[in-house]
Amino acid sequence: MSIETRRRLTPYLLLLPGGLWLALFYLAPLWTLLKVSLSSRQGRFSMDYLLTWDVANYQVALTEFGPQFGRAFLYGGLATVLALAIGYPLAYVIAFRGGKYRSLLLGLVVVPLFTSYLIRTIAWSSILADNGPVVGLVSWLGLGGLLESLWITDQGRLLNTPAAVVGGLTYNFLPFMVLPIYVSLERIDGALVDAANDLYCSALAAFRKVVLPLSLPGVFAGSLLTFIPAAGDFINAQFLGSPATTMIGNSIQDQFLRQNNLSVASAMAFVLMFVMIVLVLVYSRRFGTDDLA
């Protein structure tokens, strides 16, 4: 094999393991999912699904689960915005002001991930409980009325409200926002900021014109890593929410595991995936990273 041929083949060989993995464990299941979503089941508990190319399952998914889809994107979107608002300054401080504590601070961001996701979420239900510390603090500070008017609490309660679900999502996915932003901030050459200052940029202008644009790839990656799993999540809505805050993940879980309706569940999963892809495409067009990365 000539060096030239080998050079041409190398990228493909490198792609092979990942490609195989993707084909077997992502594309093949996806294909099955698609087929099941276009099939009708032969009896409620039957495992026989007849491929009929019937789009009725999609009709059910779209007409009966509108509110759950809406809440998934609303809560996922809010959690992403909140995680960005909390995560960006945090990443900024760690990257530029962390000094010798940088690794420690970064470690602290990651530490919660060592505990099970489920345990952390259930722990929040104790923290937000009616007799819990947060509700106690709120009433001690006399903030009850304010939070009530901001729709954060409901009759003085925090647990089982939309705010608790969004809060749980924000908390759980925050590290996935912080880490990519940190990485892109950390790579910024300090000399660029110095140059901006030398050219009479105020600190704010230097941030806006130099740091922010250079960190956008991190923001882009972080918001996708937060939004996609948050919108598809069902754990937070299950443990921190109420019957009025269920998200599409809860409905898909219900259809799969309780109603045994794999067809409708698959159709819902596909609709969710489709909407996500469209949103991500629009987002990457708008804030695309091609010229920034």
């Binding site: 093949a28 799969f256 999963a269």
Partner: protein
């Protein structure tokens, strides 16, 4: 979602295993297909958590006692957490004519009824279980297994109302009290449809035992739907309702007697009530999945747990309503307080106030499940 999706994919993958050479990777460890001889010294039981007396420093639990007495290598696994999800787990195999590993599984009566209806169970070796004679009358031919061939009761659970006196500020008496405006936003309901709808039906004067159509139960669904819309209901929960009840997040909720009894030990404000309109009796039953291999050992296990002395030990740990007559006298020897507990050993009057949800036809059950699912918001 991911679990079920994988289950199905795995099955379909397996069918094409030759083509993609993936069979060995993705196929779960295969239990024998009935061809293997019935090894009398092996047994696999799947049950709910905390449903048997465990081995402690100074006590040998039932599982270990059974192993010692019989020499049978019993694998006892507490893997049934929720009926619906457990069903979704076994469906891909039993639904395609293959067996599962467990020889005995303990599921709630309505799921047992469904499995019997689907033909996914084997008849029990009842003739080899002489101690079945110790069972309470009426449990041998229940509505979920009229011929009494497929299921035997493990324990019964009384479904009623649990409430936190400190949170309610008053004592509850009827199902209707769950809809008291003073408790707005602090009521919990079970995600278990039969328990929630059954109890509400009782409250509305509808007999859950004689339900045969959706229309008969419709008022209970309407009541539930209205209560959810009005914000009366805080959440629908499974086993996790106990924390909410203990902390007072739930002032009151649909509850299981044994659980509340355990909770009340630490928190005297927590109480259990069989409402004045009556309560429900939910039986968890032992059944053998179709093709289960260890029939002899299974019979010995059933015979063992129906011995009143053993049944007393199991009931003392689970604090549930044992199906075994004679267990009360045995229990009185080492735990007189429990033996006198009216929720573990209800008297005749109380028993008469307990109803068991009807065995619904498949299409009717589907209507119930779907309507319920829409209400709980999933």
């Amino acid at each position: 979602m991911i679990r079920a999706g994988r289950g199905l994919t795995r099955r379909q993958f397996a069918a094409r295993a030759g083509a993609i050479g993936l069979g060995a990777l993705s196929w779960p460890i295969l239990p024998g297909c009935g061809a293997e001889p019935d090894d009398p010294n092996r047994l696999f039981v799947e049950n709910w958590p905390a449903y048997i007396d465990p081995t402690t420093d100074d006590w040998q639990g039932s599982v270990d006692r059974f192993r010692k007495v019989t020499g049978i290598d019993l694998r006892y696994s507490e893997t049934v957490n929720e009926n619906q999800e457990y069903f979704a787990r076994i469906q891909p195999r039993l639904g395609t004519g293959r067996t599962i590993e467990a020889d005995i599984i303990v599921v709630t009566y309505w799921l047992a009824a469904r499995l019997i209806r689907l033909g996914w169970v084997d008849p029990l070796p009842i003739e080899q279980v002489p101690n079945a004679a110790n069972l309470e009358a009426g449990l041998r031919n229940p509505n979920w297994d009229p011929e009494g061939r497929f299921g035997l009761p493990w324990q019964s659970v009384i479904v009623g109302i649990g409430y936190n006196r400190a949170a309610t500020g008053f004592d509850l008496g009827s199902v209707d009290d769950l809809f008291d405006p003073r408790l707005k936003g602090r009521i919990g309901m079970q995600t278990e449809m039969h328990d929630t709808i059954g109890l509400l039906a009782l409250g509305l004067g509808i007999d859950p035992e004689s339900l045969s159509s959706f229309a008969q139960a419709a008022p209970a669904f309407e009541q539930l739907s209205r209560a959810k819309r009005d914000g009366q209901i805080r959440a629908f929960t499974g086993n996790d309702y106990l924390d909410d009840l203990a902390t007072g997040n739930f002032a009151a909720c649909v509850a299981w007697a044994g659980d509340v009894a355990q909770l009340a030990k630490d928190n005297p404000d927590v109480r259990f009530l069989i409402p004045e309109e009556g309560g429900l009796r939910a039986v968890d039953a032992m059944i053998m999945p179709k093709g289960a291999r260890h029939r002899q050992a299974a019979a010995r296990w059933m015979d063992f747990v129906y011995d009143p002395a053993q049944a007393a030990r199991i009931a003392s740990a689970a604090q549930t309503y044992t199906p075994v007559v004679g267990a009360q006298a045995e229990l009185a020897r080492f735990a007189p307080a429990l033996a006198a507990d009216p929720l573990m050993f209800p008297d005749g009057v109380t028993k008469a106030r307990l109803k068991t949800f009807a065995n619904l036809a498949e299409d009717v059950e589907q209507q119930f499940d779907e309507a319920f699912s829409r209400i709980i918001g999933a």
